[in-house]
Symmetry: C2
C-alpha cells in the first residue's frame, strides 16, 4: 500500500551509501548500526505496508549531531528518515529509497519546565507519557494523546491529536516553537517563546505535519495545560451509531465544553470487553469526560445526560474517581490492540478521516453499511467531537483478495469523507498510505504549491522521500 | 520608518506600468482608478510612515478577477498590493515600488453560515463587525477583534488577534481554510472544512501572517463560537502597573478561563476618560470579562476578585448588564483614538510586543520607566493575558528629533521583548515597520528559510514587495 513513492527521486548509488555509512561509522562508532534486524525495526510499519528498511540507523544525541548527519547525507544525496518511536500508521518511517534513519529516541530530555508560563522545552525523543510523568507534581499536563506512546517530535511531524483535541486542540495548536535541522544541515529556530506572534512566516506550522520531509525536529517548546480542579467521566450507551453521533453533534453545537467525547461501535466495544476485561454494554457507546470546577463538571455532566436522553441514549453513568477514569481511558487507548485481538493472526489497517460535524452521523452510518456489505471486520472508534473517526479493517496480508477488498474499502471511505467537505486524514498523516488521496482532496494548484514548498526547502529531495508529495 | 524596502526588487519600468494600467482600464472601466487621492488613500498608513501610493487601484469583485489582475501584473513584473480596509499599523498597504493595489472591499459577501458546524465562509472584504452583525440572530459570533473594524482577509494576512485571544485564540487558530490567488494567478484551496486534518503541508497557516507577500486571500472559512449563556465584565484598579500585571499572571497561571483581560496604564485611562466621557479611576486598570454559565461567570468573577485583592488591587466591580459591557469595550477599542486625542496635532505610532507571561510585569515596568526617561507621552494598553501589550508614543512628524527619539524608544522596546524570549510583534505584523527587527528575533538560518519560502512561492517578487523579508 505504498504506491506513491515520490517523483523525481531515485535510490542513490551504492558507493554513495557506502561512503556515508563509512563516515558515520567512523564518527559514531557503535551508534551507527547496519544490522538487518535494527534496519527492519526502524522501518517497522504498525499497519500492513511493506517493510522498506534504511541502509543504516544512526542513534544521535544532539542537534549538532543531527546537523552533521544531514550535511553528510546531503553531500552524497542519500535519503534521511527521522525516527522517533516508530508508532506512525501511514508508513512515515519506511525507507523506499534506502538511506539513513536518524533515531532520535536518545534525545529524550525534558530541558525546561516553565510552570509560570505554562510551557516546557523538550527534546524530540521524549514521549507523551514520559512528559506527563515528568510533570506529575507540577499541576500541569500535556493534553495531546494519540493512542500510542508516541515521541513528541513524531507527534509534531504528523500533526497528531487524540482524545483531548476537542477541547485542547491538536499538535498544531500546542507547539509554541521548534528547533529544526533543515535539509542543508542548518539549524533553524521557528519562533520565540511568546504565546502569540505576527513576526513573519509561520515556520512552526510549516514543520508541524511535514512528516520529516522538510527537516528534522530536534527541540520543541510546548504549551501545557493546568490539571483541572475536577474531572468527571463516564460511559453512555446508544441504540445506534447514528444516535450516538447525533448526541455528539448536539453537545458540540450547544457549546458544552466537553474535554473528550469518543465513539466506540458495538464491534469495538466487544473487542474492548474481551481485551481489557470489562463488561460494557455491547452497543454503540460514547466515552465522555468533562474538566472544570466541582460545580462546573457536575453541571456539564447533567447537561450531557439530558442531551443523550433526547437522542434515545443513556443512562449516562458518570463518576469523578480517578481509578475508574484511568481504567476507562486505558481501555480506549488500547482499542487498536483490542480490535487486532478480535481475529488473531490477521493484521489491522488503522485509517482515519475527518468531516464537518454536521456530516458525522451520515459518514459513520454509510461507512458501517459499507463495512457490512464488504464482508469486513472493521471496528469504528473516533474522536467524534472533532468529526474525526477511525476504522480498523482486519485482513490477512497473504490473502491478495482480502488486501484488495480492504484497499477498495479505504478508498471509498476517503472519497466519502472528501465528498462531505472532509479530509482524507484527521490525525494520522499522509505518509505513504494516503499520498494517492491528496489530489482527490486538493485542486492541482494546491498540490503544486506543496511541491514548490518541498522543492524550495529540500531542493535535493533527500528528506524522507516518498512521503506526502 | 520604512527603512527595509526589500532586497532584489526594483520599481518596474514606466512602460510596464502603463501597459498594465491600460489593460486594466480596458477590462475594468471605472473600477480602475488612478487619481492621486484614491492612490494615496490606498497607501494610507494609520501610523507615522511615509505614504507610498500605488500606480493604480483596481476594485475587484471575484476570485477570478483577482487571478486575472495578478496574471497580468506577473506578465509585466508589476507589484501587486492587496488592500482590505487599510487599517493595518505597520505599512502593509504601502507601495514602495508602485504597482497595482487590489481593493477587495467590494468582495464583502458572507457566502455561507454553517451554524451546525460552527463555521462560516466569507469573502475577504467582510469586516469583523459586519460578520458579527450578520450572525446576530444565530447564537454565534466571531471572536477576533482588533481595535479597528478590519477586513477579515487583512486580519488573516496579519495574523491579527485582539481582546478575546486569551480565550479564543488568534486568526491562526480561527481560520479553517482559505482560497488564495498565488503570485502566478493560480487559485489554491488550502484545506477542507474539517475541524482538523493531517493532510499535507499547512497551506492555511502559510498564508496566515504572510501579509499578502505570497498571494491574495479571496475567501475564508472561519470558525465561529457560541455566544456564551452568561457574560460578566468589570474594571479593577491597581496601585501600580506591576500589581496589575501580577494579578494577570496569577489569573492565567491558576487556569481561570478569563475571556478578556486588558491592561490600561494611568495615561491611557486619562485618555479614555476624556475621549469616551467616562469617570474611571485614573490609575492602572484591568478590564476583565468572563464567559460561561450563570453560575460559572459568578464563580470566575469572585475568584478574580480574590486574586486582585492578593495583588493589592480592587475592589473588582463587575456586572452582567449588556449596556455596561458594551460601553466598557467600546472605550477599550477606542483607546487608540483616545490616546491620539491626548495631544491634538501629533501622530501616534502604535507598536506592540509580546513576551512570556512570567516576564510581563518586568517588561511593562521597564518600558514605563523608559517612556518617562525618554520624555515621551506613550500610553500603554495591552492584551496582557497573552503577554502582549501596545504602546502609542505620540510625536510630531515634522520634528526630526522627536521622530528619532520615538524610533530609538521602539527599538529598545523590541530589544527588551526579544531579550525576554518574546517577539517583536504579537499581532500587528512586520510590514515595513518591523522588518528590520526580524533578524534580531530569528537566527540567520530562519530568515534564510523565510526568504526561500518567499522565492519559491513568488519567484518574480511581485507580491507586496518590501514587506516582511
Amino acid at each position: 500500500m505504498g504506491e506513491n513513492l515520490g517523483q523525481g527521486f531515485a535510490r542513490p548509488p551504492a558507493e554513495a551509501v557506502a561512503s556515508v555509512v563509512g563516515e558515520l561509522a567512523a564518527r559514531f562508532g557503535n551508534r551507527l548500526v547496519t544490522s538487518q534486524a535494527v534496519r527492519e525495526q526502524h522501518a517497522n510499519i504498525v499497519t500492513g505496508a511493506t517493510n522498506q528498511p534504511p541502509d543504516a540507523v544512526v542513534f544521535v544525541q544532539s542537534t549538532e549531531e543531527v546537523a552533521d548527519v544531514v550535511k553528510l547525507c546531503a553531500a552524497w544525496r542519500v535519503p534521511v528518515i527521522p525516527y522517533g518511536a516508530g508508532t506512525s500508521l501511514e508508513g512515515h518511517v519506511n525507507a523506499p529509497f534506502g538511506g539513513v534513519s536518524i533515531d532520535l529516541s536518545a534525545m529524550n530530555a525534558v530541558l525546561a519546565v516553565h510552570a509560570e508560563d505554562l510551557d516546557c522545552v523538550v527534546q524530540p525523543g521524549v514521549t507523551r507519557k514520559q512528559l506527563n510523568e515528568h510533570l506529575r507534581d507540577s499541576g500541569l499536563f500535556f493534553p495531546i494523546d494519540p493512542g500510542a506512546d508516541a515521541s513528541l517530535g513524531g507527534m509534531a511531524s504528523t500533526r497528531a491529536s487524540g482524545t483531548n483535541a476537542v477541547r485542547y486542540g491538536t499538535m498544531r495548536d500546542n507547539v509554541l516553537g521548534l528547533t529544526v535541522v533543515t535539509p542543508a544541515g542548518e539549524i533553524v529556530k521557528t519562533a520565540s517563546r511568546a504565546r502569540k506572534s505576527s513576526a513573519g512566516y509561520d515556520l512552526t506550522r510549516l514543520y508541524i505535519g511535514a512528516e520529516g520531509t522538510l527537516g528534522v525536529i530536534t527541540e520543541l517548546t510546548l504549551k501545557l495545560a493546568g490539571i483541572p480542579e475536577a474531572i468527571s467521566a463516564g460511559v453512555c450507551p446508544f441504540p445506534t451509531v447514528r444516535a450516538a453521533c447525533d448526541a455528539t453533534i448536539a453537545t458540540i453545537q450547544t457549546g458544552l465544553p466537553v474535554a473528550r467525547i469518543e465513539l466506540l461501535d458495538a464491534a469495538q466495544v466487544r473487542a474492548v470487553n474481551a481485551y481489557s476485561k470489562l463488561t460494557l454494554p455491547e452497543t454503540p457507546l460514547l466515552f465522555v469526560e468533562f474538566h472544570g470546577t466541582q460545580a462546573g463538571v457536575r453541571e456539564q455532566a447533567e447537561r450531557f445526560g439530558d442531551i443523550a436522553a433526547e437522542c434515545d441514549g443513556g443512562p449516562f453513568e458518570w463518576a469523578t474517581k480517578a481509578e475508574d477514569r484511568t481504567r476507562l481511558w486505558q481501555a480506549r487507548h488500547d482499542a487498536y490492540w483490542a480490535a487486532i485481538g478480535l481475529m488473531p493472526g490477521k493484521k489491522g489497517l488503522s485509517t482515519d478521516v475527518c468531516v464537518p460535524i454536521s456530516r458525522l452521523a451520515d459518514c459513520v452510518e454509510e461507512t458501517a453499511r459499507d463495512i457490512e456489505a464488504s464482508g469486513l471486520i472493521a471496528p469504528i472508534v473516533g474522536h467524534v467531537g472533532d468529526g474525526n473517526f477511525h476504522t480498523l479493517p482486519l485482513f490477512d496480508p497473504d490473502d491478495a483478495e482480502e488486501v484488495a477488498r480492504v484497499g477498495a474499502y479505504v478508498g471509498r471511505l476517503v472519497e466519502r469523507a472528501i465528498a462531505m467537505e472532509g479530509t482524507c486524514t484527521g490525525e494520522h498523516g499522509v505518509g505513504q498510505g494516503k499520498a494517492k488521496y491528496l489530489p482527490r482532496e486538493f485542486p492541482p494548484a494546491s498540490i503544486q504549491l506543496m511541491r514548490a514548498l518541498k522543492r524550495s526547502v529540500d531542493p535535493l529531495g533527500i528528506m524522507n522521500p516518498g512521503k506526502i508529495v
